[in-house]
């Protein structure tokens, strides 16, 4: 009898499928469409200390095999989240991952400190936010810039901490090694790829912010390679993501070294894609006589 249960940094997931941050709100919307409690967990919409209205202009653009988005972290802020949504999320039989971003070190720290008082399974630290103090380059590009934020957050954060890495990092392996050295409990990877679309009729970028984040099946092989490279170098577990749109993709990520996988863009293909992936993983395990996913984790 196969068991899809996985342990990630001491937390049991009933299966390794998590809905990725930014694609599922706080779970309520998809919860009305399918039984989200059949998933392993949910990563919240990215939260910042204060509410943010997000970006102006077009926010979504379809590409061959993917989408680009420029939502700009529209969110109600951590206080509103804690008051309005946290209790509901915690009432679900799901691992509760709270994604936190910021635009300066103080914002991250204040948000994380505030969340210390609440029941949360993981803080997923999004270091792909523009760093206002360093001219807008995001925190997650340079290992030494990211180190500062990870170190300070680690000191303050009482929850388990997973760091969400940007594939736009100069050296994603060194970034992951730094996270482990600074005491992170896990790695979430990868966020969206910085990309560009141009409206050739208007002779202007599609997005007001010029560049936007590419996700979806288009990025899967690159994300998979990055997960594999990092998995070979760190001991902390990895939540792998990047274009996963089938159970076969999920198995690939697990074989590449991921413990948990996150499904994002694919939920727009089919709202209950995460569920189909969880079922597909179980069927694959049974037909291949795999009792525990650790038998195939990181075999590549």
């Amino acid at each position: 009898m196969s068991n899809t249960k996985v342990d990630f940094a001491g937390v049991a997931f009933k299966n390794p499928v998590v809905l990725a941050s930014g694609t599922c709100g706080f779970g309520r919307e998809f919860g009305g469409i399918f039984d989200i409690e059949k998933l392993g967990g949910i990563s919240s919409k990215g939260l910042t200390l204060c509410a943010r209205d997000g970006n102006e202009g077009i926010r979504i653009w379809e590409t061959p095999s993917g989408i680009m988005n420029s939502v700009g972290m529209e969110n109600p802020g951590v206080h509103s989240f804690a008051e309005q949504d946290l209790e509901w999320i915690n009432s679900l039989n799901l691992v509760n991952i709270v994604n936190v971003g910021g635009h300066c070190c103080e914002d991250y720290l204040e948000a994380v400190e505030y969340l210390n008082q609440f029941l949360v399974d993981f803080i997923e630290l999004n270091i792909s936010c523009p760093n206002v103090k360093s001219g807008g380059m995001n925190f997650g590009i340079k290992t030494e810039v990211a180190r500062e934020i990870v170190r300070e957050v680690r000191k303050l954060c009482k929850h388990r901490l997973t760091i969400k890495l940007s594939p736009n990092a100069e050296d994603i392996v060194s970034l992951a090694e730094m996270c482990e050295a600074e005491g992170a409990d896990g790695i979430s990877m990868v966020n969206t790829f910085l990309a560009l679309a141009i409206d050739i009729k208007k002779k202007k970028p599609v997005f007001n912010n010029v560049y936007a984040g590419l996700s979806g099946p288009a990025i899967k092989p690159v994300a998979l390679r990055m997960v594999n490279q990092v998995a070979k170098r760190v001991r902390i577990p990895i939540m792998g993501m990047g274009g996963i749109a089938s159970w076969m993709d999920a198995i690939e990520f697990i074989m590449a070294g991921a413990t948990v996988i996150q499904v994002g863009t694919a939920s727009f293909i089919k709202p209950d894609m995460g569920l189909a992936i969880a079922e597909g993983i179980r069927n694959y395990m049974e037909s291949n006589k795999i009792y525990d996913l650790k038998e195939i984790r990181g075999i590549i």
């Binding site: 709100g25 979504i60 095999s65 993917g66 939502v71 727009f268």
Partner: protein, 235 residues
């Protein structure tokens, strides 16, 4: 998953398509449609033109890769319908103008029908603007009191808002904005149906956010129908 009952070309790029779907959809709502596996990634939000308990009719314009694929669908082909999504036009009565531009005419067939059923004493006039070819005039005449058609011009020039208690509109932003301005100092209350780009269709992803006087709203879930002053009153 539903099956196509028929799919008819109305003009160069406008199509009317009926699909099997048990539903209790209401005027102004939409479905996310897809007739392919994973690519294109996104489903297409399409307004409900008409419905009964067993089926839904969609009016769509072939403008890109997804809608082009819809044009190829034949009787018996399968289509995925997620919905109905979004809010509805308000159940109002009195003298009502329904103003659609281009594919924005789509919701007003069911809307006219519903409002006349709701109160047969209401006057429901339809104004349809097209860039080159008039469509569905006979069908709209069956459900509305008057049907005004404008081809190649500006449909909003044909409306006198003072004749109406309510104006409901759907179409290009510029048309809805000008109509709001035309209505705002009259007795007519105006509702607009927004057509932002969507991804999830259920309010989870925030790519369709619309700024309103009540803060950011999700077009797919809080809308697509908003009081005109909520959207254009803040500009």
């Amino acid at each position: 998953m539903g099956k196509i009952i028929w799919n008819r070309q109305l003009s160069k790029d406008f199509f009317l398509m009926k699909a099997e779907e048990k539903n209790n959809a209401e005027m102004g709502q939409f479905y996310m449609l897809r007739a392919w596996d994973k690519f294109p990634v996104l489903s297409r939000p399409i307004s409900i033109f008409d419905r009964d308990e067993e089926s839904v009719v969609f009016l769509y314009k072939a403008i890109g890769e997804g809608t082009e694929r819809f044009t190829k669908l034949k009787e018996g082909d399968e289509i995925t319908l997620e919905g109905p999504h979004g809010n509805t036009f308000p159940k109002i009565e009195g003298r009502i103008a329904l103003v659609g531009g281009g594919v924005g005419i789509a919701p007003f067939y069911l809307t006219a029908k519903t409002l006349k059923e709701y109160n047969p004493g209401s006057v429901v006039d339809v104004y349809l603007g097209f860039s080159d070819t008039a469509l569905l005039e006979k069908e709209y005449k069956e459900v509305a009191d008057e049907v005004h058609i404008n081809v190649g011009g500006y449909i909003i020039e044909d409306i006198d808002p003072n004749r109406y208690d309510y104006v409901l509109t759907c179409g290009p932003m510029i048309m809805m904005r000008l109509l709001y301005q035309k209505c705002k100092d009259t007795r007519a209350g105006i509702y607009v149906s927004m057509e932002n780009r969507l991804a999830c269709g259920v309010g989870a992803c925030l790519v369709c956010t619309c700024k309103t006087s009540g803060g950011n709203k999700k077009v797919c879930k809080d809308g697509p129908v908003f009081p005109g002053e909520e959207v254009f009153g803040i500009e």
